[in-house]
């Protein structure tokens, strides 16, 4: 019993020594310390990209093409406008189900063609907003490609802030204008 307590105390002390030694190392050799940090960052990034890959693999596993004809899928296909946050081009989680349905539809219908129209709200400069609208449309395109659509089925055009869906200078109008519209050229 006493022995155990002693070992424990020793263990704690040894652990503390190790921590101190490590900290000392970092203090003494700044270069080595920051190199370690960089390695840590790389490790984190690697983990992050691995996570993304796993996610995409699991998403690919849900074979939507097979039941793309049912009513629920049809309802999803009726959703053709997808919204974005200010100065952002990442696809919102609420857009994923409908976009997956469009991707599956394109994959199942090789003759179908779409134009993805990217838009931005009126804040900021017209040219930067052209770029932002294009980024949004490209994000949608990449998502559709991931779902099995082919690049030749998709054309991207950005109108920036030139064609707002709603007029007005408040967030309620702006949130409707930061969007990508899927327009079918042929079904």
């Amino acid at each position: 019993m006493q022995k155990t307590a002693l070992y424990k105390a020793l263990g704690v002390a040894f652990g503390a020594f190790l921590v101190t030694a490590c900290a000392n190392n970092g203090d003494l050799e700044e270069g080595a310390g920051s190199a370690m940090t960089a390695t840590e960052q790389q490790a984190t990034e690697a983990t992050e990209s691995a996570t993304t890959a796993v996610e995409s693999a699991s998403l690919q596993g849900q074979s939507l093409a097979s039941d793309a004809t049912n009513a629920a899928q049809q309802a999803l296909l009726d959703i053709t406008t997808f919204y974005f946050d200010f100065d952002q081009s990442s696809i919102k989680s609420e857009s994923r189900a409908a976009l997956s349905a469009h991707g599956a539809y394109l994959a199942a219908n090789a003759g179908a063609k779409v134009v993805l129209e990217g838009h931005a709200d009126e804040r900021g400069t017209p040219e930067y907003n052209i770029a932002l609208g294009e980024r949004r449309a490209i994000a949608v395109r990449d998502f559709l490609l991931l779902k099995g659509a082919s690049a030749s089925q998709i054309k991207v055009v950005s109108f920036g802030e030139e064609k707002p869906a709603a007029m007005g200078d408040s967030e309620s109008a702006w949130s409707k204008n930061r969007r990508v519209e899927i327009k079918y050229q042929s079904r």
Binding site: T125, I130, P164, D169
Partner: protein
């Protein structure tokens, strides 16, 4: 009855087609010079279609450098220097007085005018200028430029032009318009059902470049102003936008993006060879040549949000120029190269700001308008014209680079956007 309907229809059509911009000065300079432009004498038989001295009066007043005197308050209307009773003008607290006469000349008009110093009682200017029958407004702007240069030492820009885009509420019609710098004599030079943006003048003032979506994607066109001749110049697959002529007019900087990665390119306008200048995963856009013909200012999201950077077109090195605030974009330089004017965003507020290129000091110029964009600097570096949002409509407004003078150019119809001020034209 039918005639009346036709006339009303014509009036309506002209209203729809024209923005009809009229300058409203909202803030003048504290140190504005008091000047009295006495109505010029006209010795011809029929009334003149334009009131030259009233246009001169309006030009000088709207510049913010002068405080003009309402002719109704004048005690006397002299037309020759010898007729000027200086004591009266001193009592009216005037520094300068302009008198003149318009006479019929061969196929047009001749204007002779004098600028007199009320205090020293000296004649500073005695000048004569002729123009043809359609040039009354040109004659007036010439006189304004002459007086402005003489009294301020700065070249006047009253004879310059601007191009801008007007649209309807539904965004189903886009007009590229050409007008005098005071908004008068607007002409529609290109019309489309699809967006038009980013008009840019060639340095010689002979043509404008702009982005048009008429073919379903953004492409860059040139249009000769004298002939209306159009040419499609940049139409690579993807997006092509933000044209900017080099100071010598031989190269065009622009933005091209094929897969969501816009970068800055330069085209040699003689050989039509294109070079890519930036290669970054961020958004690179809005290139603007600096006066040295080597450096290009541009907007990039490479640090997260949009900031302004300077690119060396020879060695391709890039350095960051703006650091204050989260949104800085669309840089334009003043003619003397001392100040950069740009869009500065903070939360939901977007204003025109200037940055001193030496000290880096930033100053917001346009606090009383919002969602400001598309600044374009007058060729003499005095004023910046820009688009702002007012009551859910887009209007043009202007502010002096020192922030002291402000005016608006509201239109009666639709939205007015994307102004581009011409170079000084000869």
């Amino acid at each position: 009855m039918v005639n009346r309907v036709v006339v009303m229809l014509l009036l309506w059509v002209s209203c729809v087609a024209q923005a009809e911009l009229v300058i409203e000065v909202t803030q003048g300079r504290q140190s504005a010079l008091p000047i009295a432009v006495v109505p010029f004498e006209w010795t011809g038989a029929l009334a003149l279609p334009e009131d030259i001295s009233a246009i001169v009066n309006n030009d000088l007043g709207s510049s913010g450098y002068f405080r003009t005197l309402d002719p109704a308050l004048m005690l006397d209307k002299p037309v020759y220097p010898a007729e000027v009773a200086y004591v009266d003008w001193q009592r009216l607290k005037q520094d300068y007085i302009v008198v003149g006469r318009i006479s019929p000349a061969e196929q047009g008009y001749a204007v002779e005018f004098h600028v007199l110093d009320v205090h020293s009682q000296l004649e500073l200017v005695h000048h004569r200028v002729k123009g043809n029958g359609n040039q009354l407004r040109d004659l007036a702007h010439y006189i304004s430029d002459f007086i402005f240069k003489e009294l301020t030492g700065i070249p006047g820009v009253f004879s310059t032009k601007m191009v801008y885009v007007t649209t309807n509420r539904e965004r189903s019609r886009f007009n590229l318009n050409f007008a005098d710098a005071d908004g008068a004599r607007e002409q529609l030079i290109f019309r489309s059902d699809e967006p038009i943006l980013s008009p840019a003048w060639s340095p010689d003032g002979q043509k404008v470049a702009y982005v048009s979506f008429e073919n379903g994607q953004s492409e860059i066109f040139f249009q000769e102003l004298a002939t209306g001749k159009r040419e499609k110049v940049v139409a690579f697959d993807g997006s092509n936008s933000a044209p900017s002529f080099s100071p010598d007019g031989t190269r065009l900087a622009f933005v091209h993006s094929s897969s969501g990665n816009p970068d800055i390119y330069v085209m040699d306008l003689n050989t039509r060879q294109t070079q890519r200048l930036t290669k970054h995963y961020g958004i690179d856009t809005e290139p603007q040549w600096m006066a040295d013909g080597r450096h290009i200012l541009f907007t990039s999201s490479r640090a997260g949000g949009p900031q302004i950077y300077k690119l060396d077109s020879v060695d391709r090195s890039v350095s960051r120029v703006t650091f204050e605030g989260r949104y800085n974009a669309r840089a334009r330089m003043t003619a003397d190269g001392r100040k950069m004017v740009f869009v500065h965003g903070n939360g939901d507020r977007f204003h025109i700001a200037s940055q001193d290129m030496e000290s880096g000091r930033v100053r917001i110029l346009s606090r009383d308008t919002n969602l400001d964009e598309s600044p374009s600097v007058a060729p003499n570096g005095s004023m910046v014209i820009y688009a702002a949002t007012e009551k859910e409509r887009s209007i043009l407004a202007a502010v002096s680079v020192d922030g002291e003078v402000k005016f608006r150019l509201p239109s009666r119809y639709g939205d007015v956007r994307e102004p581009a001020w011409s170079p000084i034209l000869n």
